[in-house]
């Protein structure tokens, strides 16, 4: 029995099916962070301007702070927690470590998710493609250059392994 004012949703989260009730005004970010305890997606502005909360929905990057949780019904959601693990890093995560791409790291999960969406669609991106793909993700520490280097390196590695 669904509680009054709650919406029942079913979706795939990091590869596993999940079914729960959400409030009609609950954002995907709040659902992830505060109810599901997946705190890798960050709240930097809560109005879709910084990109720190970026997750993939059916492979496309979205600002989870602007996405109502009820809208992910039937969708496939991937967060930074579903991307890799210490023994099984995604090539992007590996390249981010090696290239000193991480400083404070608050923007990192969101940027990695935006970069993943790019590489899935375009395995050999140009520098301009990368700039455009991460232009919605603000970073105040790095000057973006190490980030672009890391994404280029990850793209080279993934295409070699194909």
């Amino acid at each position: 029995m669904v509680k009054e004012d709650f919406v029942e949703i079913e979706f795939t989260l990091n590869g596993s099916p999940i079914k729960l009730e959400v409030k009609p005004n609950e954002t995907l970010l709040d659902l992830l962070r505060y109810r599901l305890k997946l705190t890798g997606s960050k709240r930097g502005c809560n109005r879709g301007e910084c990109g720190a909360c970026t997750v993939l929905m059916n492979g496309k990057p979205v600002d989870s702070c602007l996405m109502l949780a009820s809208k992910v019904n039937g969708k496939d959601v991937l967060t930074i927690e579903g991307l890799g693990s210490p023994g099984m890093l995604h090539p992007l995560q590996e390249a981010f470590i090696v290239n000193n791409t991480v400083q404070c790291g608050f923007c990192t999960p969101g940027i990695i998710m935006s970069a993943k969406a790019l590489l899935d669609e375009n395995p050999n991106p140009s520098r301009e493609d990368i700039q455009e793909a991460i232009s919605g993700n603000l970073c105040r520490c790095t000057g973006y250059l190490p980030i672009m280097e890391a994404i280029l390196e990850a793209s080279r590695k993934t295409s070699e392994n194909r």
Binding site: R33, K37, L38, T39, G40, S41, K42, R43, G44, C45, N46, R47, E49, C50, A52, T79, I80, E81, L83, G84, S85, P86, L89, L92, Q93, F96, I97, V98, N100, T101, V102, Q103, C104, G105, F106, C107, T108, P109, I112, I130, Q131, E132, I134, S135, G136, N137, L138, C139, R140, C141, T142, G143, Y144, L145, P146, I147, M148
Partner: protein
């Protein structure tokens, strides 16, 4: 082995926190949760200057889910401030700027806390206010504080400027202004406080001057500081924005009142309106110069908008005043820096601490002088550049000066002596290049600022290092571990570092003033050397030689020239602890040597050492849209010895983009004290689309007072960027923007003026 026989110093070891951060597993303050945790919100005033006639929060208190409401009368000691105790935790009788907190609410969730703010009734009597610091200095201006609006006047007197002007062939005068900026660390101010009788108060926060805030809290709460524990959590960026007291008093008071954990997260809007900002400046420069380009005399008058409270403002205008003349030998200098109260957002520390503002002005002024004299801007700088053995205007004689090296290196890489490409293929887009120099100090201005360290060597030969310095994300814990491991002669992975915990770690004056590698690094090296001496004494006894006959290499102590006679650090540590009953533990501290400035003349030795840099910018200006696009920055930086070159380059590339924001786009727009652009849609910071190519060149030097020759880098990186860009715009299209930032609107207006003048 790297150069000079170092195993770890000079090696680009990846930052130790990167793994957790790329996995999304790093725990930032907002990721911490406690059972029964409450959420707190602040009610801030809606007027920039007003008397509070009546304050009634009873309706908010009655709201279901609200657990505590506190105001000024709940604060044991309501005032605080680093330089002067002029700021209030809660405004009581009057509010002085639109971010002044009046009430704090703790509730079961964020929505209830937010809603409760609407049920607080405040009656104000609006007072006349003042927003322009130049107006605020007039005798009839509304008073922000009882003592008047001139908060502080810093004077630097060196030689005789009037005499210098008489000896000059040309006098060049310029006026500039620089804007208020916001730090825009991606993580907003966040804190969690927990209180119980046994442990006292524990606060997880990301402030950079942990021990200063610790002392302030003890005064505010009137409890011994030993009952307050500040733990530095993984930090999502600071840049000076998290230096001073911010949300800690509110969550502390609410946790003590409710005896439940309390979390507060500032919204992005609060970051713009209620947190500190980069001080804005009005500057006037007058320089006397010989025909051959020799600088003779320089006079600088500058007025800085302090906002309603001082925080670190006095230290900031002092630093700005010392650096206002630029990194040049000038026999006659006079600087007057006025720090003035207004009813604007509060000024505070931000990367560069006053020096980006004065450097933007002086380096644009230098190009104007070069233009008037018809000399090459690089040659003018080379001719006057400070060198070792020369004095700055405080009378301090400098050592280990690398300015000329950076000028020559940047010039060489940029091909400065060759004509550069001006045309772009599109007739309305012009290309230009500009140069700027800077120097910057390590450590606090004139005040003591020690760091301490504890080094414990475990019986297995690994070591634990305790320091109060917080890693803000820049990688200080990685660099400090390299220093400890190098000195102890053990592998990098054998070091565990505990940092930023006021109950456990020794004191540190803060991760500020580009001081951690230098000051904390020196403290660690000293403590590690003491621990090493203990190990050598054991080894000398075991091997029946004197300690002088021993050397440390690859984790073992050897008898010189007898490599077969050796004992590993682990064996020595366990022998010391388990057989001799002597735990291997050592403490040390380092206080960067400086002396206070004379209040009337500004004479003294304010800093232990300085870093130098030259940056060259290549810029394209679209004359139809007014948009300036930075193509490339060549940045040659003296950092002393680079302990971790990759992290040094990370600081340089990151700082440059912040400097680009200062040059072209960032500005807090205030109207009658109200911030009109408190979000990332209206306050633009550079995105990946704005990122230029950067050639970060490390010009190493061996600093005799630094750990393994290191100085620092953190704040030096953004300082020369803005004037290099502004000078490049002038080179491209012949206009000199003297009010930062150089927005397309300002560039178009200036171009139109040029057309009008013909």
């Amino acid at each position: 082995m790297t150069e000079a026989g170092y195993r770890l110093v000079g090696k680009s070891i990846p930052k130790t926190d990167s793994m957790d951060k790329v996995l999304g597993a790093a725990r930032y303050t907002d990721d911490l949760e406690f059972p029964e945790m409450l959420y707190a919100k602040l009610l801030r005033t809606k007027y920039p200057h007003a008397k509070i006639l009546r304050l009634d929060a009873t309706r908010a208190e009655r709201l279901p889910g609200v657990k505590a409401v506190i105001t000024a009368k709940d604060v044991p000691f309501n005032t605080f401030g680093y330089n002067f105790k002029d700021q209030v935790v809660f405004a009581q009788d009057k509010v002085r700027y639109m971010g002044d907190p009046i009430v704090a609410v703790a509730a079961e969730n964020e929505e209830i806390a937010e809603e409760a703010l609407e049920f607080i009734d405040v009656e104000y009597e609006v007072l006349p206010a003042v927003f322009d610091p130049r107006e605020a200095l007039k005798p009839d201006a509304p008073k922000v504080h009882e003592g008047g609006n001139l908060c502080f006047h810093r004077k630097i007197r060196f030689g005789n400027v009037e005499e210098g002007f008489r000896l000059s062939d040309k006098i060049v005068e310029d006026s500039f202004s620089t804007q208020k900026m916001e730090h825009c660390h991606l993580e907003p101010h966040t804190g969690v406080a927990v209180f119980n009788d046994q442990e006292g108060l524990t606060i997880w926060t990301t402030c950079a001057m942990l021990f200063n805030v610790h002392g302030e809290l003890a005064r505010i709460l009137k409890i011994p500081s030993s009952k307050i524990r500040l733990i530095h959590t993984t930090c999502g960026g600071g840049f000076g924005g998290k230096n001073e007291v911010s949300l800690e008093p509110y969550i502390a008071l609410l946790a003590m009142k409710t005896r439940r954990p309390v979390k507060m997260v500032w919204t992005r809007e609060e970051e713009f309106k209620g947190s500190t900002t980069r001080h804005s400046y009005f500057l006037e420069y007058k320089t006397g110069v010989k025909k051959d380009g020799t600088l003779v005399s320089r006079e600088v008058k500058m007025i800085s908008d302090n906002g309603a409270y001082t925080q670190l403002g006095e230290s900031q205008i002092t630093k700005a005043s010392i650096f206002a003349p630029g990194p040049y030998k000038i026999p006659h200098v006079r600087v007057d820096g006025y720090l003035v109260y207004t009813n604007n957002t509060v000024g505070g520390a931000m990367r560069g601490f006053g020096v980006p503002q004065v450097t933007a002005a002086v380096e644009t002024h230098m190009d104007h002088i070069a233009e008037i004299l018809g000399v090459n801007p690089l040659e003018l700088r080379l001719k006057n550049a400070l060198e070792s053995g020369e004095c700055i205007a405080t009378g301090q004689m400098l050592h280990n000066v690398q300015l000329k090296e950076t000028l020559l290196k940047a010039g060489e890489v940029a091909g400065w002596d060759k004509p550069h490409k001006r045309e772009t293929g599109a007739p309305h887009i012009k290309r230009g290049r500009g140069i700027a120099c800077m120097f910057y100090p390590i450590g606090f201005t004139e005040k003591p600022n020690p760091s301490a360290a504890v080094v414990k060597v475990n019986p297995d030969g690994s070591a634990v290092v305790l320091v109060g310095s917080a890693d803000m994300g820049q990688g200080s814990n990685t660099v400090l571990s390299q220093i400890a491991a190098e000195e102890l002669g053990i592998p990098f992975d054998s070091i565990a570092i505990v940092s930023g915990d006021t109950k456990i770690t020794p004191h540190c004056s803060g991760t500020v003033a580009s001081r951690v590698t230098y000051a904390t690094g020196n403290a660690i090296r000293r403590a590690a050397a003491k621990a090493k001496r203990m190990l050598f004494e054991i080894a000398a006894e075991e091997l029946s030689v004197s300690t002088e006959a021993l050397k440390l290499e690859d984790g073992s102590v050897y008898v010189k020239n007898m490599p077969e006679k050796c004992i590993s650090i682990g064996t020595l540590a366990s022998t010391s602890y388990q057989l001799r009953g002597k735990p291997v533990i050592a403490t040390a501290h380092f206080n960067p040597p400086n002396t206070p400035l004379d209040p009337e003349t500004g004479q003294g030795n304010p800093f232990p050492t300085y870093i130098y840099a030259t940056q060259i910018a290549e810029v394209e200006v679209n004359m139809k849209t007014g948009l300036a696009r930075v193509l490339k920055i060549i940045a040659a930086h003296d950092v002393g010895k680079a302990i971790n070159p990759q992290l040094v380059r990370g600081q340089i590339t990151g700082g440059i983009l912040m400097g680009l924001g200062q040059a072209l786009m960032e500005e807090i727009i205030l109207k009658e004290g109200c911030t009109l652009n408190p979000n990332f849609r209206d306050y633009l910071i550079p995105t990946a689309m704005d990122a230029p190519e950067v050639d970060a060149i490390i010009v190493e030097s061996d600093e005799p007072t630094g750990p393994f020759g290191a100085k620092g880098v953190g704040e030096a990186s953004n300082i020369a960027t803005a004037p290099a860009i502004i000078n490049a715009i002038h080179d491209a299209v012949g206009i000199r923007i003297v009010e930062l930032p150089a927005t397309p609107e300002k560039i178009l207006l200036a171009l139109r003026e040029v057309v009008k003048r013909g």
